[in-house]
């Protein structure tokens, strides 16, 4: 797992200290390592409910590490990964974020799939002044100087998807969304964009996480007769919706920001369950550019059995390179303050498999190429439209500016950052 040696510190034994002995082997860093390595902590869910979409994130980080190490490392230093399995459990994130920052003393952490896990560890990152990449598509709004977000956010995915779908299919929109922060905030974005474009919301339904039976929902959608159905369903239980809707004969064109690009439903379900679904994503393995094909080939050379390379894998991959770029431009410093100064210059970028990406200094989020992926009847993917260089504009426009102040908060469209005068 990592190259440290483990040295048990001897203790004298009472019963509870046997526990201590079992529990706390001390990791001692071997100074004999060729050069002092850059340590990257990786906290991802390799087991539990989220494992479907996150195992490949770890693999992507390992791939990037190998590539960078082969070319001389970061500023001449090799990369050392400290990987923990967080088991889709928020408390594990809290335990291990503390561990990587206090005990393993890593330079940077790549962590988290669900938004809840990110909010669980974020107070700890702030408290211990860590530096952390969240490489995941999410509901947007995190305004925290200790965090860099490489995933796509709603303004990037919905300001492209919704107008396109309304133009093509019609202006009556129905949203079904997971009943928690991601779903509710994304639904709010959809609502606002539909309104701005002169459309009409004919229905909105929120589904608690873990619900797997959808008969009533399907009936409600049929009653409302929408032109476009926006599905913001999350988790493996909820994805049973598609199978059930299809078998009930519901075939409304679907739009989404989470499906396909994350948990590759089009590979897992029998065609034509997902036919006629449109997804905006910043990357999936079907993207046909030469850079993407090369990336997929390298990925499969190292991990031949990888079921799918999703957008989060690409986000994680490019995050390692972005970090390398920052550290090298900061003359080898890994101090968060130095790195943030580099981000503040506004030109930290990388030619990723998706295209060029740049970190926005005001929000520390990232610009993306947004691909509109269409799922065909046989579940192959085509790309009817591609938007280049879509910026994460919302936080900056709403008044947040991490180069000037650092509120350590998450904002939403209905709870925006305070306007500065």
């Amino acid at each position: 797992m990592n190259t440290c040696t483990r040295v048990a510190r001897p203790r004298t034994g009472t019963i509870s200290q046997v526990g201590l002995l079992l529990g706390f082997f001390t990791l001692s860093v071997v100074a004999a390592f060729a050069a002092n390595p850059v340590k990257i902590g990786v906290l991802e869910d390799q087991s539990g409910d989220f494992a479907v979409a996150t195992v490949c994130k770890v693999h992507a980080i390992q791939l990037a590490t190998d590539e960078i190490d082969a070319k001389g490392g970061i500023a001449g230093r090799p990369i050392q990964l400290v990987i923990y399995d967080t088991q889709s459990d928020n408390t594990r994130y809290q335990e291990f974020m503390r561990r990587v920052l206090q005990k393993d003393k890593v330079d940077v952490v790549f962590a988290g799939f669900s938004s809840a896990s990110r909010e669980a560890y974020r107070p700890i990152v702030d408290q211990l002044h860590g530096f952390c990449f969240y490489n995941n598509q999410y509901e947007g709004g995190v305004c925290d100087g200790n965090m860099v977000v490489t995933g796509a956010v709603p303004e990037q995915q919905f300001s492209t998807l919704i107008p396109w779908m309304m133009e093509k299919f019609g202006k009556r929109i129905y949203t079904i969304a997971a009943d928690y922060n991601f779903g509710q905030i994304s639904a709010e974005w959809v609502r606002n964009i539909v309104k701005q474009n002169g459309g009409q919301m004919v229905g909105e339904e929120f589904i608690p996480l873990g619900v797997s039976q959808f008969s009533q929902t399907i009936k409600n959608i049929q009653a409302a007769k929408p032109d476009v159905l926006v599905t913001l369903l999350v988790g493996t239980a909820q994805s049973s919706y598609y199978e059930q809707a299809n078998s009930a004969g519901l075939h409304v064109p679907m739009g989404s920001s989470v499906n396909v690009g994350q948990a590759y439903e089009h590979k897992r379900f029998k065609p034509p369950t997902l036919a006629n679904m449109y997804v905006t994503t910043n990357y999936i393995e079907e993207v046909e550019t030469p850079a993407s094909k090369d990336f997929v080939a390298r990925f499969h050379a190292k991990f031949p059995n990888e079921p799918y390379i999703n957008q989060e894998a690409e986000n994680s991959y490019l995050a390692v390179y972005l970090y390398k770029e920052m550290v090298e431009r900061a003359k080898g410093s890994t101090k968060p303050a130095d790195l943030r100064k580099i981000i503040g210059m506004g030109d930290v970028s990388f030619d990723a498999p998706e295209g060029k990406v740049t970190i926005d200094p005001k929000s520390q989020h990232m610009s993306h190429t947004i691909y509109l992926a269409k799922v065909n009847d046989d579940h192959s993917i085509s790309f009817p439209y591609i938007w280049n260089d879509i910026k994460p504009y919302w936080l900056g426009e709403a008044g947040a500016d991490l180069t000037k102040s650092d509120p350590h908060k998450q904002y939403t469209p209905s709870d925006p950052p305070p306007k500065r005068n």
């Binding site: 009943d179 608690p208 873990g210 797997s212 009533q216 009936k219 199978e243 078998s247 004969g249 590979k267």
Partner: protein, 290 residues
Amino acid sequence: MNYLSSIFGFLYQLGDSCAFLVLASCGLAIVFGMMGVINLAHGEFIMCGAYVTAATTRAGLPLPLGIACGTIAAGLAGMVVERLVVNRLYGRPLDTIVATWAISLIVTQGTLIVLGSTIPGIGTPFGSFHVGNYSYSYYRLLLMVAAAVVLIGLWLVFNKTNFGIVARATIQVPHMAESLGANTRLIYSLTFGLGTALAGLTGGLYAPTMTMVPTMGTSFIMEAFVTVVVGGADVFLGTAPAAGVLGVIRALFTSWQGQLFGQIALLVAVIVVIRVLPKGISGWILKGRA
């Protein structure tokens, strides 16, 4: 016509909701309701049935045979678990919580390691039909029929067959049954196997409609326990009416206020029913009789 179609729509939701509760809980009703084993691995037996069904169906077997394979596989797995673990714990039911939770951990994560985070689904057969403005899935009608068949089948097994009668005798007064010549070890094992086979059947039946992941069983387990407990110790006088009552409550609230309130109403109903009938529905019916 419109009126009729909305009545049909509501009955369909009701049937769907009840069928889910009956199928989710029937296996547990035997293992937990009759035998007193608090089987937290119930969901994993469902997953086992679903996985075997999906695998055999993809290998070319027709779906009904696939479901049969899933049922048998879960039943055999159940008998193995009974022999290795559960039969040492009949004297101390609360310890079965820990043991079956451990089994559930091992099976879920073991499946993830061996088969990966997901396997491809098999698609729902039969297509859809229209009533009024709405379209419905034929397959879900079949699920409702299956739920009814399972209940009737169980009643026949436990009341009309020799095995059923001996099994009930064994579970009620083991030493008496033993002195009358019953092989109680075998009976326990078979009864447990029957319960897990039913879980496998449920998994097989729902396999075409769900995402195939190692944790898929967890979406059944809460409903299963709640239904069995509200029902009380008797499978027929308890579980079936409990599934009926809870199914109606859930369908009503879901159609009225959405899925969240459907779930909350279900749980609140459980609390209220248990407060009013501390021995469950079957306890109340039997008391009324006596």
